[in-house]
């Protein structure tokens, strides 16, 4: 493999991974846009550093960016505290003012014809391929600083994001923690924009964390996962832009990240969209199953044992789509809850217990609604139709206790307890 390409690859991967680790805390703090504002606000610092420094010198540019970013950060904080401006107003004010000033300075340089030299275009859109060896050393060192910084301040950052008042109350040095976090954020943005540029920086800070969050509930795991997403995206982005002619790195990195983000939101277990759909479907099936069992149990109550009903009879009592009903009956048969007596269905002992439970929960909830919430007896049925499928055994126990082992529901139907 081409050694230059390899070095660019290592550089970009480190940059992306380390900025995303710092970005994770901004994401958790709900300050995703602050990163965007700071990224824009770095511009005047970078341009001024170029004007003053003359030659294109990475460490000088980084220093300029750092100062500019810190000023912007404290500017936002000052506006929020000292005026009645809302947070988003303060953020956008600072963003536009700094960025506008930066653009003004930039057009000044471009008129003097130094713009290309400055690599300032790279600042806006990122140009990983243009990274020099010297840059790579510096940025890799900074990436290490970020990762070590986060490791060292892990406890402080964790508590600052979760519960700042408590951190303050136990006497943690909050000014130091906050300042370190700000410096690391500005550094992360400074080196991150080398890959993706100012405009796309927010994506690099936030998307990896947003994607990682849905896969895990542990902060260390989330940080590691965010770094991996960002790293892999950087590798793929760099690779694509080196293979395809005239393809920019930054936008590809961001697109790959966005792909990770969306697929996480769709496919993650528990929090993902598909998983939620699946749960909803499963609950819907459970509801239908329980409704059939309830219906059969109520028929037994009315007609006495044994009550055998055909599909048509069931549909006559409760409207159900035929295909749903047949598949539900099949499922109930498989679970040994009902028996098929040649086209008419009756409860097994197991199914009777289930049906009795659902009817009991329905009537308990109706009683609770009238007794505790003072609802009229003719308004409670629809709610109970839902709750009978939701109430867990623990809640049932509480209900029975709170209502004092009631015998009948508000409509004077008996509440069927287990026979023992």
């Amino acid at each position: 493999m081409d050694p230059v390409f390899l070095k660019v690859l290592v550089g970009t991967t480190l940059l992306a991974a380390s900025s995303s680790v710092v970005g994770a805390f901004s994401y958790l703090k709900g300050q995703s846009l602050v990163g965007d504002a700071i990224a824009h606000a770095l511009l005047p610092g970078v341009v001024l550093a170029f004007i003053l420094g003359g030659i294109r010198n990475s460490s000088f540019l980084i220093l300029g960016a750092l100062i500019s970013g810190l000023l912007a950060h404290y500017g936002i904080g000052y506006l929020e505290n000292k005026t009645k401006l809302k947070s988003d107003t303060a953020v956008s004010l600072v963003l536009s003012t700094f960025f506008g000033f930066g653009i003004m300075l930039m057009s000044y340089i471009q008129r003097t014809g130094q713009g290309q030299q400055a690599g300032l275009e790279r600042f806006l859109l990122g140009k990983a391929a243009a990274i020099t060896m010297q840059d790579i050393y510096i940025f890799s060192a900074l990436a290490l600083v970020l990762i070590i910084g986060v490791g060292l301040f892990y406890k402080g950052f964790q508590l600052m994001t979760f519960n700042e008042d408590f951190a303050h109350a136990i006497g943690l040095p909050m000014p130091l923690i906050r300042f370190t976090f700000t410096v690391l954020t500005v550094l992360a943005i400074t080196i991150g924009i080398q890959t993706v540029g100012v405009v796309l920086m927010a994506a690099l800070l936030i998307t990896p964390s947003a994607a990682a969050r849905v896969w895990t509930n542990s902060l260390p795991a989330m940080l590691a996962l965010a770094a991996s997403f960002a790293g892999v995206a950087a590798i793929m982005g760099t690779y694509i832009s080196s293979v395809l002619p005239k393809m920019p790195t930054g936008p590809w990195v961001v697109l790959v990240l966005a792909f990770f983000g969306f697929s996480s939101l769709l496919f993650a277990p528990k929090r993902g969209w598909f998983s939620k759909q699946r749960r909803a479907k499963a609950n819907q099936r459970k509801t239908i199953r329980e409704n059939v069992l309830k219906l059969l149990f109520q028929q037994e109550e009315q007609r006495g044992l044994p009550a055998l009903l055909s599909i048509e009879e069931i549909q006559g009592i409760r409207e159900m789509r035929l295909d749903r009903l047949t598949s539900t009956l099949k499922e109930l048969k498989n679970r040994l809850l009902i028996i098929d007596h040649g086209g008419s269905y009756g409860l097994t002992e197991l199914g009777r217990g289930e049906g009795r439970r659902v009817v009991r929960l329905h009537r308990l909830w109706e009683l609770y609604l009238t007794e505790r919430l003072g609802m009229a007896a003719d308004h409670i049925h629809p709610q109970a139709e839902t709750m009978e499928h939701v109430i867990t055994p623990e809640i049932e126990e509480l209900l029975v206790k709170e209502l004092g082992n009631p015998e009948v529901d508000p409509h004077q139907s008996p509440i069927p307890y287990e026979e023992d």
């Binding site: 958790l28 709900g30 009645k84 060292l152 301040f153 406890k155 402080g156 964790q158 508590l159 994001t161 979760f162 519960n163 008042d165 408590f166 951190a167 303050h168 109350a169 136990i170 006497g171 943690l172 040095p173 969050r213 895990t216 509930n217 542990s218 902060l219 795991a221 989330m222």
Partner: protein
């Protein structure tokens, strides 16, 4: 008897609007103490000022006769449950371990001793089986108990709790009350911000009645009188709140810059 907390001529404002006016009282040790008052009466502000989270315009507070910074390790704080985002990626144990964080172990890893103390604290609030449950999956009452366990893990002498009974189930309420009694028997002091008059009388030994200004402070049988309660809860203090609005909208400084009411230096 030793004083646990002393509040001296305290005035605090929020967005330049005064929420506590010249409040002055001191609290005993080894008691369960309620700071009671209607909504917006400055109870939480009181607690936050004692914890150094808000700066007073004038006056000062002391704990065990010292400024907070000198006794911080003896003081524990339980913020309102709703003040944090429970969707944070952490399990119950992670949060309780935060009670072990100190200035001098900030850069160190969590020790075995920390874990032992945290486990004990979880046991005391009956949440041991939930140690590795994600905190967003807990009920309100369980979340409140997590906060109390974190506070127990601090092994302090005085505990300041902000509305620990809000939104908890009956079982949690009983568990908390029992725990408070145990703490009291060990000589600990517990100060609780509480808005519910119905229960205040049975929960606390000592009560501070607050409504922007101090209405009364003392043992509950002295404070829980009809007259004093009416004074605290009987409508807003119209003149006082009008003045507060005026100060806020007209940008009056609450004290002239030269005015200092700090604690006189000890000889």
């Amino acid at each position: 008897m030793e004083k646990s907390i002393e509040v001296h001529n305290l005035t605090v404002s929020y967005h330049s609007k005064p929420v506590l006016w010249d409040v002055d009282f001191s609290l005993p040790t080894g008691k369960i103490i309620g700071i009671v008052g209607p909504n917006g009466s400055g109870k939480t502000t009181m607690l936050k000022t004692i914890m150094g989270l808000m700066k007073p315009d004038s006056g000062y507070t002391e704990i065990f006769g010292e400024p907070l910074d000198k006794v911080r390790s003896r003081v524990s704080y339980v913020p309102q449950r709703e003040s944090v985002d429970w969707d944070f990626p952490a399990d119950v144990m992670d949060v309780v371990l935060m009670g072990r964080y100190r200035k001098n172990n900030l850069f160190r890893r969590i020790s075995k001793e920390d874990k032992r103390v945290a486990t004990e604290a979880l046991e005391k609030v009956n949440l041991l089986e939930f140690a590795h449950r994600q905190i967003s999956q807990l009920s309100g009452g369980q979340q409140q108990r997590v906060f109390i366990a974190r506070s127990l893990a601090q092994q302090a002498d005085i505990y300041l709790m902000d509305e620990p009974f809000v939104g908890v189930d009956a079982a949690t309420e009983d568990a908390i009350l029992q725990l408070l009694q145990e703490m009291k028997n060990q000589g600990k002091t517990v100060v609780i911000v509480h808005h519910d008059l119905q229960t205040a009388n049975e929960y606390f030994d000592h009560i501070v009645l607050l409504n922007t200004r101090l209405v009364a402070a003392g043992p509950k049988d002295k404070v829980f009188t009809k007259e004093l309660l009416q004074e605290a809860y009987g409508g807003r203090l119209t003149v006082l709140s009008k003045l507060g609005d005026l100060i806020s909208t007209e940008e009056f400084p609450l004290r002239e810059p030269e005015f200092k009411e700090n604690k006189p230096e000890k000889e």
